[in-house]
Symmetry: C2
Subunit: 165 residues, 2 copies
């Protein structure tokens, strides 16, 4: 049984050295989404020239786009494989979608058309969704799926942040 003094000392230590307790906290956030791409040039053309995005930093190896409070990175697949110690031969089509939500239902189709003009392929044309909104999907030059969606149940703030409630 610990004395009161030992308990208090332990609490103080936990406050000062949270990792010492084994309780390491992982907040709910994603800092970066890194897409492994076959051609950095082609991906930059799509997101840059095509969608009009401006890189906050880029060099011969990587591009970083500031996306609100997080970052989208474009990085060659082989470099990403090496960095995460994966065999690039094991890579396949990602079972992931990236969502881009819009304020009005009638913004979805024009954005899908813009993506196509930039070199995307339509995976699914815009249509009414079972969940009460409207959405369609395009694939970027590497096949990564983007869902352009209008979801009237979520709150899309002026700064582009989106909230479930």
């Amino acid at each position: 049984m610990l004395s009161r003094r030992e308990v208090l000392a332990g609490m103080a230590a936990a406050a000062l050295f949270p990792h010492a307790t084994g309780e390491s906290r992982m907040d709910q956030r994603i800092s970066v989404v890194t897409l492994g791409v076959r051609s950095l040039e082609a991906a930059r053309r799509f997101y840059g020239d095509g969608l009009g995005w401006k890189a906050a930093f880029q060099n011969q190896e990587i591009s970083f786009f500031q996306c609100g409070g997080m970052i989208l990175a474009l990085f060659p697949r082989d470099g990403l494989a090496e960095d995460m110690m994966a065999d690039p031969a094991t890579f396949g089509r990602a079972a992931i979608s990236l969502g881009y939500n819009v304020r009005e239902k009638n913004e979805v189709d024009p954005l899908l058309r813009r993506a196509v003009a930039a070199g995307a392929k339509i995976l699914k044309p815009g249509r009414d969704a079972s969940w009460g909104g409207y959405s369609g999907y395009f694939a970027d030059p590497d096949g990564y799926a983007w869902e352009v969606a209008w979801n009237p149940q979520w709150r899309l703030a002026a700064d582009g942040n989106i909230y479930v409630h």
Copy 2:
């Protein structure tokens, strides 16, 4: 040649109906990252019980986690395939990493250990990176790669938002 009146009418129409001009703007943001998972139960155990994340909404089909100003969704792979009109048999290992940046170098290893305790596999132990920081990778139960990184060149704000500059 357009008259001044026609030009002004066109400008007014473009302001009122931006889509009519064909210029549809896609801001730099990602509203949602949806991970297609083999087992919704297992994925919920990992992110929920394991990492301590709380769903803002969930039902039998999907979980949504509010992550700063964006949303992480867990959704069964087959449902995602159907929604994006993809053949789930074409899915493979994603050439994508999700980054979680921390404030201090010494936060990386404890977080990797916490992920392992939650059921993750280490892809790469924490180590000094060529770009001046320190990072390691873990894979979630579906194999999605998370990089836990300390990057002293980026600004990690109090609210968890991260900025290249």
